[in-house]
């Protein structure tokens, strides 16, 4: 595949979207445990303290940040009046998502 920034913007956007689509039902199912009371949710939360899970969590936040930034790029390209700087939106999106990912990692 050609290595131009727009291609990577698309690839990241699609892969992160698929990843999030797989994650979301699990996320909803896990939170649904709250219906059974705090103890049930706590049991689940204890499991999420494991380092591998924490790392996966951070990965998912990164996917969300990347998909979000890429999505803003598409909305800008499709709805804002055309300007040359829009070509560098892919780079801007990458920077923004990394920043978000970093912020989350620091908070963990």
């Amino acid at each position: 595949m050609r290595s131009h920034s727009g291609y990577w913007a698309f690839a990241v956007h699609r892969v992160s979207g698929i990843g999030l689509a797989l994650f979301l039902p699990v996320h909803f199912w896990a939170l649904g445990h709250a219906l059974e009371g705090a103890a049930s949710l706590d049991a689940l939360l204890a499991w999420t303290e494991r380092p591998l899970v924490k790392f996966a969590e951070w990965g998912i936040v990164l996917l969300l940040a990347a998909h979000f930034a890429g999505g803003l790029r598409i909305l800008a390209l499709e709805f804002l009046p055309w300007r040359d700087w829009q070509k560098s939106l892919a780079a801007a999106a990458a920077a923004v998502s990394l920043a978000i990912g970093l912020a989350f990692a620091l908070a963990l």
């Binding site: 131009h4 390209l77 709805f79």
Partner: protein, 237 residues
């Protein structure tokens, strides 16, 4: 001066790259290189060109992996360590060597309703179009297209979805959607919407990056997305 080591595609869809040594000259273009090969080294090499001054778009080929007009590509700009690889344009069937079958490219142009149709006759007055109106500016931004297929060859969606109309056809459709004199609007919007039309574009922008005339098909396609949405919400009128 040194020699250029040139790798040229020979054959059809199946084939191989053939190596040639070409004397390097000042201000040499890739078209100069191809012409030299055909005239002095191997007369069986098939290639296309016409104006050789960057106006007709006939000489478009893949140079070192990127679609370009070979008459406007200086060897100095693209040759890495005196090597160039020349292949036919991507996404089009290869007839022979560097010549591609352009029929599909132009068929899609027609399928996207890329033709003007007016309703006025010689008995009507001149159409009054303000050059600074939004619509005319939008049309003007896209009408310099000469149908060279560089954008088409640079589009990954065309590569993946054989039916996709492609950036050139959609860009032309957009210029006509913005032409106040045209009467085929609804038909055209219907033709360009759909999963083989503007909605298949994923804003990868290969087209805009590569267009030798500096057009932005991505912008035109974005315009078509907005316009088809408006048309749909108005009940397809």
């Amino acid at each position: 001066m040194n020699s250029l080591h040139v790798s040229v595609w020979r054959g059809g869809a199946q084939g191989a790259f053939q190596a040639f040594e070409v004397p390097r000259r000042a201000s040499q273009t890739v078209l100069d290189v191809v012409s030299y090969i055909q005239r002095s080294l191997d007369p069986t090499l098939a290639y296309r060109f016409a104006c050789r001054v960057g106006m007709c778009g006939s000489c478009a080929m893949t140079v070192n992996g990127t679609a370009r007009w070979t008459c406007r590509t200086h060897v100095d700009k693209v040759a890495k360590e005196d090597r160039i690889e020349i292949a036919p344009l991507r996404n089009l069937p290869v007839i022979r060597d560097l010549v591609t079958d352009m029929r599909e490219f132009f068929d899609k142009w027609a399928r996207a309703k890329g033709q003007f149709r007016g309703a006025a006759t010689r008995h009507d007055g001149f159409a009054r179009i303000r050059p600074d109106s939004t619509e005319r500016r939008r049309a003007d931004a896209g009408i310099e297209c000469i149908g060279c297929a560089v954008c088409y060859a640079s589009c990954e969606v065309v590569q993946r979805i054989p039916d996709y109309l492609g950036p050139a056809a959609l860009n032309r459709a957009w210029t006509l959607v913005n032409d106040a004199r045209d009467v085929m609007r609804a038909e055209r919007l219907r033709a360009v919407a759909g999963d083989a039309g503007c909605h298949a574009c994923h804003t990868q922008m290969g087209c805009t990056e590569r267009c030798p005339v500096k057009l932005a098909p991505t912008a035109s396609i974005a315009g078509l997305k907005r316009e088809t949405a408006r048309w749909m919400m108005r009940g397809e009128r």
